[in-house]
């Protein structure tokens, strides 16, 4: 019996496509979906100052917001073509798995057990968070060792207590933890002067003091004493999309390392003879093709969003109400962890 012509034709087409190396995985790639849709859908926190929050006039701002915009600039050529979807903590991975969002930039810690899960994958670390210590602005303490023998507020039974004890013990110094079961009571106690400092992850500290309208009266010490690397996540099994998000973040760090900014990148693209700059900005092609993007992808990121340092300063640093120092988020050559992988 002869097969119907249409069935034969579609089988032949499928066979032909397979022979060309086009698997169904790449046909479903988020990169294709986003390009077709013409907009990027980004899962965010939505209530975390400095990371993702709407300002007084309803515009989205934050480090994670900037990363989403950077991906939109890289893929679509226009940073503003992003829809932000606030995700509560317990629903965030479901939204990613279900395809409700293309990526998640939601101050989410990269951990072994999340990385090894097959259905989600972290793409980069865009903020090295960790346990930090806040003191009143007029405190004499300039660094954590200055708090030796002092009372420090923290939450009972948390890794924060363990990390703090470890930090002082290793340096043969003493400290007096003041432990609370309730986070709110802990902050109340600190603001009442019952302890000289309070400790929790930096992002949680920021969030609380800003929400309580007390950010102006406190200061964060420079030390970060635990590892909470935060970064964007994508769905597992979609390497092309993973690469786009990963190398977008990397491009922002590389741009900072090469001293390319929003204001000078246009001139640098035209005039620079530095092969690293030419590679990054697409004057020497190759990176775009490897990623399935236009060769001006990184140029679009930098001119429309800025380099990593610019994004940090506007959202968390000296040009923001938070005034955080770069710390672990500085470039590796300035003592931080931001090390851009070679883009060639």
């Amino acid at each position: 019996m002869r097969a119907p012509p249409r069935l034969l034709a579609s089988l032949a087409l499928a066979a032909g496509l397979l022979a060309l190396g086009v698997t169904s995985a790449s046909a479903d790639s988020t990169l294709d979906t986003v390009k077709k849709r013409g907009r990027l859908v980004c899962g965010v926190n939505g209530a975390l100052p400095g990371f993702s929050l709407r300002n007084a006039v309803g515009e989205w701002e934050g480090l994670d917001v900037d990363l989403c915009r950077a991906v939109a600039a890289a893929v679509l050529g226009v940073a503003t073509r992003v829809d932000f979807v606030p995700l509560p903590s317990d629903k965030r991975f479901d939204a990613l798995r279900a395809g409700t969002v293309d990526m998640m930039a939601r101050n989410t810690t990269v951990t072994l057990q999340r990385d090894a899960a097959s259905d989600i994958q972290f793409a980069a670390v865009n903020y090295y968070d960790g346990q930090a210590i806040v003191v009143p602005k007029d405190s004499a303490a300039r660094e954590l060792a200055d708090l030796r023998n002092g009372s420090i507020c923290l939450t009972r039974g948390s890794t924060h207590e363990l990390n703090l004890q470890n930090w002082f013990r290793v340096r043969r110094l003493s400290v007096r933890p003041l432990a609370f079961a309730d986070e709110g009571a802990m902050y109340d106690a600190f603001l009442n002067g019952e302890c000289v400092a309070v400790t929790q992850d930096a992002t949680a500290l920021i969030s609380t003091f800003v929400r309580r309208n007390k950010a102006a009266g406190v200061r964060m010490l420079p030390e970060v004493i635990s590892r909470e690397p935060l970064g964007p996540y994508v769905r597992g099994g979609d390497k092309a999309w993973l690469d786009v998000v990963r190398w977008t973040h990397n491009a922002m760090v590389e741009a900072e390392a090469l001293e390319l900014t929003q204001s000078n990148v246009d001139r640098e693209r035209r005039e620079s003879h530095d092969i690293l700059v030419r590679n990054l900005l697409g004057r020497a092609p190759g990176n775009g093709r490897a990623l399935g993007l236009d060769e001006s992808w990184a140029f679009n990121v930098i001119v429309q969003v800025g380099n990593y340092g610019e994004s940090f300063e506007r959202n968390l640093g000296s040009r923001s109400p938070l005034g955080l120092r770069r710390g672990a988020n500085a470039l590796w050559r300035d003592g931080g962890q931001m090390y851009p992988l070679p883009m060639r």
Binding site: L112, Q113, D115, A116, R227, H273, L291, G292, Y339, P342
Partner: protein, 338 residues
């Protein structure tokens, strides 16, 4: 019948984007009972056989750690020396399970359907070595001179870019292998030799001519080195990645080969998670819960393998520099193992 034949023909064309061994490297390693590791073989401090024919080096120890994690036995490794030009092909065709060959991680090597890097196990940079008698102080002094370089590496590219940017001319002599390159350099066929600083230092120390040669101070590129695995096998990628991170975590928690047994009694939750006293990590990686314990017990933490291979316990005597833990000014930082 004809329809079935057509469907079968279509199915035969399926696995063209990935070699048949993708997705199952962990199973294959277990079935075989040994890990097949692609290495340099001529890189002192990274991968080389000593006088007693035993394999030694930072990359060798990473392979041993992977074997300890997956097979419970760090000795169950076969090493395949590979030239720079053949290294990725050996990985893609399945001749080796992992490439631990002081290979720079870069965008175009790891994007698309190419191999995937699992981690950075050494942050290096490209440098130049010259005879002291040339009395050079900077790399710019090599303008119009000849430099020996190995084919198929990023070094040639970086060097050309560096000199072109500054408007200098440079001549190169290219070689298939590192050994040929150094032989030519020591025979005076070129005025300089270039490679990652660690490889250069090792070669000079090995030549016994430390007094006659010097490394110029300019490091002209970032060369983050790390292991690669095949694309399309995420569980295997995770095993290799977290093997490296487990060694960093062990160093940060001050767990060593000598004290790891005692640490099994530790109250520190982080230590319990690492050593499998609190289970979970092993299960999700598809490994025994003692995977990280076995790594530290049989191979050591990152600091120990650094010291023995390239640091104070070796002839090379490199400082930790960028390869120090993040708490000590370096870039070695592991995400939490939980």
């Amino acid at each position: 019948m004809r329809l079935i034949a057509i469907v079968l023909a279509a199915c035969v064309l399926l696995p063209v984007t990935q070699p048949a061994s993708a997705q199952a490297t962990l199973d294959a390693v277990r079935k075989r009972g040994s890990l097949s590791c692609g290495v340099n073989g001529a890189a002192p401090g990274f991968s080389m056989q000593n006088a007693a024919k035993q394999w030694e080096g930072l990359d060798v120890d990473l392979c041993r750690a992977i074997a300890a994690a997956t097979l419970g036995d760090a000795t169950k490794v076969t090493y395949t020396p590979l030239t720079a030009e053949r290294r990725f092909a050996a990985l893609e065709t399945g001749s080796i399970d992992v490439l631990a060959r002081n290979t720079t991680v870069s965008l175009q090597r790891s994007a698309g359907v190419h191999a995937r890097f699992a981690a950075i196990n050494y942050y290096d940079g490209q440098a130049f070595v010259v005879p002291k008698q040339l009395k050079l102080t900077r790399v710019s002094g090599l303008a119009d001179k000849t430099v020996c370089v190995t084919k198929g590496t990023t070094h040639e590219f970086n060097m050309a870019a560096w000199f072109t940017l500054r408007g200098f001319t440079i001549y190169t002599l290219n070689f298939d292998t590192q050994e040929q390159m150094y032989a030519a350099f020591f025979a005076g066929r070129c005025q300089a030799v270039t490679q990652d600083s660690t490889a250069l230092a090792a070669a000079i120390v090995q030549s016994g001519k430390v007094d006659d040669y010097m490394m110029l101070p300019d490091i002209i590129s970032k060369e983050p080195l790390g292991p690669y695995v095949r694309n399309g096998d995420s569980p295997w990628l995770d095993v290799v990645r977290w093997t490296h991170y487990a060694m960093l975590e062990a160093e940060e928690r001050e767990i060593t080969r000598n004290n790891v047994d005692g640490k099994l009694e530790a109250k520190d939750v982080n230590v319990q998670l690492l050593l499998g006293v609190r289970p979970g990590n092993g299960k999700i990686l598809g490994l025994d819960e003692k995977w990280a314990y076995n790594i530290v017990k049989q191979v050591g933490n990152y600091g120990e393998i650094f010291e023995r291979n390239v640091g104070g316990g070796s002839a090379l005597k490199f400082g930790r520099g960028v390869n120090a833990l993040w708490t000590r000014g370096g870039a070695m930082y592991a995400p939490p193992l939980r």
